[in-house]
Amino acid sequence: MTAATAAPRGDWAGLVRRGLVHAVVVAMALVWMTPTVGLLVSSFRPASEVARSGWWAAFEPPFAFTLQNYERVLTANNLGDSLVNSLLVSVPATAIPMMVAAFAAFAFAWMRFPGRDALFLVVVALLIVPLQMTLIPVLRLYNQLGLTGSLLGIWLAHTGYGLPFAIYLLRNFFAALPREMLESAYVDGASPVTVFFRLVLPTSVPALASLAIFQFLWVWNDLLVALIYLGGRPAVAPLTVTVANLVNSLGQNWQLLTAAAFVSMLPPLAVFFALQRYFVRGILAGSVKG
């Protein structure tokens, strides 16, 4: 509790006000949880039950829960393959921009050259550019180079799109490192490469972690870039594309659809829970990818 919102209490009105605060907060939390809980519960119910009653009825007898839905979506609906595809897309598409951005960020933070600040401003300004402004020309380029539907193509695309935010985030962090630390290393005869790999990177782990999580979640949850560059080929489709297609083909089969959605949610939720601290820190760094 901070002083920004604390109030002097001790009287009846104060008590009512406090009760109201609790009521509103708890109500909001419940409202926020309900949709996800509904999804989770439905994914364990058999088809007959899902069509007949709302998911809250699952808590009354007869209790009918099943793992069949998960079995079915993982095998028959291609979700197992899509899970692998999502990994194959997300991991490199996180690692590559991090490395490229780290080099550029180090140059922006600790090297002097004419036009440095102006160029950095331009890079940050590129955060504005919506994906849509780049889709057609890049797609054409990919068609010419035969990169459409390839993993390399989507890795490079996500790298390009992710660079403005990554460079911005890392450069701000690098620039805040103590000058003495770097200067004493240079005085001792270290080269910029050594300083970068042995000094800057190890001390920047929090920022790198934030960036990694941000980029990973962004790529894992992305639909548009995958739709455009992976071309809807089921063989390479990641989870988002597959589940989106299932919405059309499975229609009212909520027991399957909810299971599929939950499978797609698990990895990012796991990452999020394990590393929430870094994720929040990345957001508070002052800019958000969009």
Binding site: V21, L39, Q132, V138, V193, G290
Partner: protein, 325 residues
């Protein structure tokens, strides 16, 4: 598995390639005299990043702007014809209206709810839990969120037991309530989709605003309270001005997102029943109609709508940079 091999190769090759690039770059640099070396070095470090930015962001944007004044197959120059056609198209005007709805309603509600949640949760001990619960939807994809909310809005004919939470709740609470097809009834279906987006992004607003609230100096608040101000006055006169910059950042972020909304609409209605937004219309023009001129024009319009919002952000960004020196 061919893809697995590809990925393994990538995971090994990429670090190797990076290391090789750095080593080669430094070798090349050592061939130069000292002064030249220091001049050239930054550019070598920047080169991969700058190259990718140009290839994926700068050059394509210019090309798209150019394509927007050509015809569908990008062969004949047609001037502003694509734009004129779009602005005369009834469906497109509905699309613009929808984006306006998103801009106003989505931004307003998320920021308001986020601020409320941040201010109220600040006063309870279980603030961390509440924040996690509200923030959780940010971790999942919009595809999953779309499925979740389609399920919430599910509709069964009157008389049959309802499977969607909203219809069931309203049927139980409101006498004589007729189950609604929330995603079909125009124009309210727009608000239904926006609600799903609000559910996803309120947590973000709450987290950022919560950090800002905790940064308000205690002394200022104590001074105001000692002077006899009510809590509401303290909030309005002391707290709000202090968190105004953060409110600005959060609001502009939400505004930009509202303009770019695609995934939710794609999954929940695919733009049918009058719910189309700019990003979806562009996708359809690109892949269904295959009219590159029109699709590019839509992209340019989207960009132009975002520019004024971002200009505000950049101005503040530069002010911050100047202060920080």
């Amino acid at each position: 598995m061919d893809r697995l091999a590809q990925a393994l190769v990538a995971l090994v090759l990429v670090p190797l390639a990076t290391a090789a690039y750095v080593v080669l770059a430094e070798r090349a640099l050592s061939l130069l005299p000292q002064r030249r070396r220091e001049q050239a070095r930054p550019w070598l470090w920047l080169a991969p990043g700058l190259a990718l930015l140009v290839v994926f962001l700068v050059y394509p944007s210019l090309q798209t702007a150019a394509l927007s004044v050509f015809d569908a197959g990008s062969t004949a120059f047609v001037g502003l014809q694509n734009y004129a056609w779009l602005l005369g198209d009834q469906q497109f005007l509905v699309t613009l209206r929808n984006n306006l709805l998103w801009l106003v309603v989505f931004t307003g509600v998320t920021v308001l709810l986020g601020l409320t949640a941040a201010a109220l949760a600040d006063r309870v001990r279980y603030e961390g839990v509440v924040r996690a619960v509200l923030f959780l939807p940010m971790a999942i994809s919009f595809v999953a969120a779309g499925v979740i909310w389609r399920f919430v809005y599910d509709f069964q004919p009157a008389g049959a037991p309802q499977t969607g939470v909203l219809n069931a709740l309203l049927s139980a609470v409101v006498p004589g309530f007729e189950p609604q097809a929330w995603l079909v009834n125009e124009p309210w279906n727009n608000f239904a989709i926006i609600a799903a987006a609000v559910w996803t992004w309120t947590g973000f607003c709450m987290v950022v605003l919560s950090a800002a609230l905790k940064g308000v100096p205690v002394e200022l608040l104590e001074a105001a309270r000692v002077d006899g101000a009510t809590e509401w006055q303290v909030f309005r006169r002391v707290v709000l001005p202090m968190i105004a910059p953060t409110l600005g950042v959060v609001t502009t972020t939400m505004l930009i997102f509202a303009l770019k909304a695609f995934d939710l609409v794609y999954v929940m209605t695919n733009g049918n029943y009058g719910t189309e937004v700019l990003a979806n219309r562009m996708y359809k023009e690109l892949f269904n109609v295959q009219d590159f001129g029109r699709a590019s024009a839509i992209a340019v319009l989207l960009f132009m709508a975002i520019l004024p919002i971002m200009a505000l952000n950049l101005r503040r960004f530069r002010a911050q940079e100047r202060e920080g020196r």
